[in-house]
Amino acid sequence: MVDINEAVRSIQATFGTKIRSADRVREIPVVTAAKQDIPAIASHIHRASDLRGTLSLQWAVDLRPRQAAYRLYYLFTLGRGTWLILMTELSGEDRLFPSITPRIHAAKWYEREIRDMFGLIAEGHPDLRRLVRHEHWPKGTHPLKKDFSWNHLMGRQDGEYHFRQIEGEGVFEVPVGPIHAGIIEPGHFRFSVAGEPIMQLEVRHFWKHRGVEKLFENLMWSEGVALAERVSGDTSFGHSLCYCQAVEALIGVEVPSRAEYLRTFFLELERLHNHIGDVGAICNDAAYALALAHCGRMKERIMQINDSLTGSRFLRGVNVVGGTSVDLSLDGVTMIEHTLKEIQEDFSDLARILFHNASLTDRLETTGVLKERTARDHGVMGVVGRASSIDRDVRRDHPFAAYGHLTFKVPIYRYGDVRARLRVRIDEVHETIGLILQALENLPAGPISTAMSSAPRPGDWALSAVEGWRGEILYFVMAGEEGKVHRCKVRDPSFVIWPAIQFAVLGNIIPDFPLINKSFNLSYAGTDL
């Protein structure tokens, strides 16, 4: 583990007076500097051998009406789970800030997003094409600026997005999506191929911008839970938990320990049904439909448990700020323990069949390798990261809910191919069932929620992380006037991992892409905020 005090001292020693201040906000060190010094400092945090910071999130806040300025935050994760925030301010009419992308690759999409949403331009960014704001959005439309009203009706303009092109004899472009043959979310993939091998893939998403972050700013901080649940449907609980944790930190609510255990229990249930579903879906994309049928059956059983316990198959309406709204009865606990043990046995049988099937193994091995270096450069974590040697898991590195009291292993694989990603999921299914049984066994008695007392001070903010089933979910919530949310930055792990898939497919052949994509199984909605 990196000693955070040591880290801050070392940065101060290196940059001297360039560091304007170094404070603590809820244990997280915040280093402030002038904007022109940011690239050097960020690069130092990223590269210095004692820091090795991964850029986990970069976001902007429009401070109006309290202050005519924009604030830029850079969140670094040092080592496994130590946070450090770098901050700078653009005041008055200043719309330019120096890009850190040339030095830190992971900033690439964040800086394009900031430009689209706030109109702040990252100078020196190698690729300033629009990302979220597709070309038909009129010039000067930056939804997260405070002078842009949430119900503003946009006009339409003409424009063309220029894909990176490879030219040459026998090189073809294959456009896929945003409308697909199956029932999946919209995403466009532009392949440059020479025959079947893929020379380049460009992912173009953000077809259904929903204004989620803008909508948060219209809500009281207590009302945001329902919206967070809808950021990415399959991660309803992970997102709502992350939002609740941020708000709870903001207003200083202590969540009762029974609620902490219940949250752990539900989060693991969500992980369980998604992982089992993914195992089946990955095999099905190699035309091994047997696994899909059995995993579908097991997944359905778990979702029916969800439904019978909470009234929602996707665990919606369970989290509330201050705890949970649903309690478990003793009968419920017995029923779940019984069912989960059955599912574990069932799933172990299936996993054995999968590992013994040579034709399946042949398809999965060496397909879609995401190299560790590429994963690090993009800041990839979660299931995909753990299949490429990235040993990070918020549950262990930054314990939240009841994870600090429970024991579990974090599976790590080295090869980064489709099979490694499948194996991480299969291993995690077992760990998850273990976690659920532990949580149920140690479930403390007591209340399941705390009444909310104080309101947060305007301008106060909190950051929260949850290990959703895909990976690290981050929420930044800043309090506004009269109990409103001033800014809520939502980051689903998909936003980080999507760019990395462009590298995992290189050298593979086009018919293997769906399999690779399924093994990543990223959310489109989670990025289409």
Partner: protein
């Protein structure tokens, strides 16, 4: 004369009627092996009826090839089927062509399917066509050679002669090894030509992985119905070839109505058995990587070539 016309007509009707059933049977077997109920037995028939009732939507970029192809594919497949003995060992049309005719009637259908895939100018159709061209060019020699291997024992390339002589065990040299090798080769060819796992996945929705389905993505309404029906017939044709070339016993050797009815029953049992086998294989194996398909088809070619070489070696 009238008898020949009637028998040919009946053969056409039987093939048209049974082919959707075989498609449904494979689906049902797969569903049962996955512990699912699966759609009803009549679903493939309902699908055809539904498609025939629907309007056709054709891209404005398409030419006459797109419109004509379904009819050519359907007609050439049906014509090929009429040359293959099903319940009577000597088909009335056997004067019209031998196994080479059958292979090239099927190739004609494939050729127009490939053209139709390219015609609309979509990326997926083009990919499907290029892949189908690879598969077709590799299966064709394997298919001809494997049937030749059996033809050598019967001393003819005419399917009716081969089946007739084998059914009566008359004037043929039977050595198991060449026959078994040729059988294995023809079975691999069947899986490849009819777009089954491990070569292609008929159940997929993933455009990028498709071969056969990618070529027909642009089709709708009755055109799609014709293409689907033709591929069902093609599947049945291959299963019939396997069962009647290698194990024709039970087939009627004289045009007696009673024996022909018995022949239909025996044939139904045999092709259903093969369909079940395909269903089991589809449940047991994942699809091959596209570039491994060539190795798989190379295996079929080598097997059929070995069958022919063995035939000569064993006869001394």
């Amino acid at each position: 004369m009238i008898e020949s016309v009637v028998i040919t007509f009946v053969q056409a009707v039987v093939i048209l009627a049974v082919s959707p059933f075989i498609v449904g049977l494979i689906r049902k077997v797969k569903a049962r092996l996955q512990c699912r109920q699966g759609p009803g037995w009549l679903q493939p028939y309902y699908d055809l009826v539904k498609l025939f009732r629907k309007d056709v939507v054709a891209s404005t970029h398409t030419s006459w090839i797109f419109t004509a192809s379904p009819y050519i594919i359907f007609a050439s497949t049906l014509a090929a089927v009429l040359l293959v003995p099903i319940f009577l060992s000597t088909v009335p049309l056997n004067f019209a062509g031998d196994v080479i005719t059958v292979v090239y009637l099927l190739a004609l259908g494939t050729f127009f399917l490939i053209l139709a895939g390219l015609d609309a100018g979509s990326a997926f159709g083009g990919m499907g066509s290029s892949r189908e061209a690879i598969v077709a060019s590799l299966t064709e020699p394997a298919m001809i050679l494997s049937i030749f291997a059996v033809g050598l024992t019967a001393g003819s390339t005419n399917l009716s002669t081969i089946v007739h002589k084998t059914a009566l065990l008359q004037g043929i040299v039977t050595d198991p090894p060449p026959h078994l090798m040729a059988l294995a080769a023809l079975f691999i060819v069947t899986l490849a030509e009819t777009g089954r796992v491990p070569v292609d996945n008929p159940a997929t929705h993933l455009e990028l992985t498709m071969i056969h389905e990618a070529m027909i993505l642009e089709y709708s309404g009755r055109y799609l119905a014709l293409v689907e029906w033709a591929s069902a017939m093609k599947l049945l044709l291959f299963l019939t070839l396997i069962s009647n070339i290698f194990a024709p016993w039970g087939i009627a050797t004289e045009p007696e109505p009673v024996w022909m009815i018995f022949g239909v029953a025996v044939w139904l049992v045999k092709v259903s058995g093969l369909a079940v086998l395909i269903g089991v294989i589809e449940s047991m194996f994942a699809k091959l990587r596209l570039f491994r398909v060539t190795d798989f088809l190379g295996l079929a070619f080598i097997l059929s070539l070995l069958a022919i070489i063995f035939f000569y070696i064993l006869r001394g």
